[in-house]
Amino acid sequence: MAKEAITNASIYYGAHNVSSLTNVIGGLAVEIEVQDSTTFGSGGWKESLGSLKAATWPFEGLFDGASAGPHPDIFTGAVAPVTVSKTNPIAAGDLAWMLNCLKTSDADSHVLGELHKWTWNFVGDGTMARGICLDTQALSATGSGTGQQHGAVSSTQTLYAALHVVAFNGTSLDVKIQSDDNSGFTSATDRITFTQATGVTSQRSTLAGAITDDWWRADWTFVGTSATIVVFIGIQ
């Protein structure tokens, strides 16, 4: 793998595409709590066992005070999926990192002559999953996306899926994650059905293995004029 400069990224936080408001994605830190498991016969050295895993994710950017923007979420304490990819515009198949997050701080700075900036800190709620963008669509009708061959899910693995509905002008939107053993999806099996969306929203859902299919796609039933969705999956 070659060295690379960070020049672009796509950041989805809940129902918001905050890519054009963000300029720093802090290190996604995954830490394991260490427990001392030293016993007699440990040879004079301490022994350790990893216990609970935790993820934190800080971001920085420029303030947008729109009432429906991403800042008021700090007052609700709600958990929402945060998904980051190094590409922008994002496309199906692009590598992504997904974490269900609780925003623990949202601080903005007011300095004369400087840009109005903010810093966020997220704490993970559950597993951090590495995956791909399964689909990104500007919808106007019911349909299915193109399949991506992302692999089977073993008995010890879980399928993680995140849906970001970032624009919505309609009545209802039902999104499903389907799998199959062939790219034509001739025997598609529904794996994850997200709760019906009736506005901009976001959801994260999981499904435990085993799943022998290795092709994945998004499928949607849309009643309305237009909507923009971004769907991610990860197997871990």
Binding site: S154, S187, G209, T212
Partner: protein, 66 residues
């Protein structure tokens, strides 16, 4: 769900409770590798539904029609 399923002329082994699928191969409860094509329970249900679906009636070809 039965252990095996026939779909479009091919026989599949359905993963049973207590068996381990590593993403490629299936190992039975005793840890022995199971040979053949493997499918999970949900996929087997999809295959069963597709097999049970009545096939569209064949259209009769007209010969020498006007």
């Amino acid at each position: 769900m039965s252990k095996t399923l026939k779909f479009r002329g091919k026989t599949y082994r359905v993963i049973q409770s207590g068996e381990h699928f590593d993403g490629k191969h299936l190992f039975d409860a005793g840890g022995n590798k199971v040979k053949g094509s493997v499918i999970d329970v949900e996929k087997a249900a999809t295959y069963e539904a597709l097999e049970a679906k009545p096939k569209p009636a064949r259209k009769l070809k007209m010969k020498g029609g006007r």
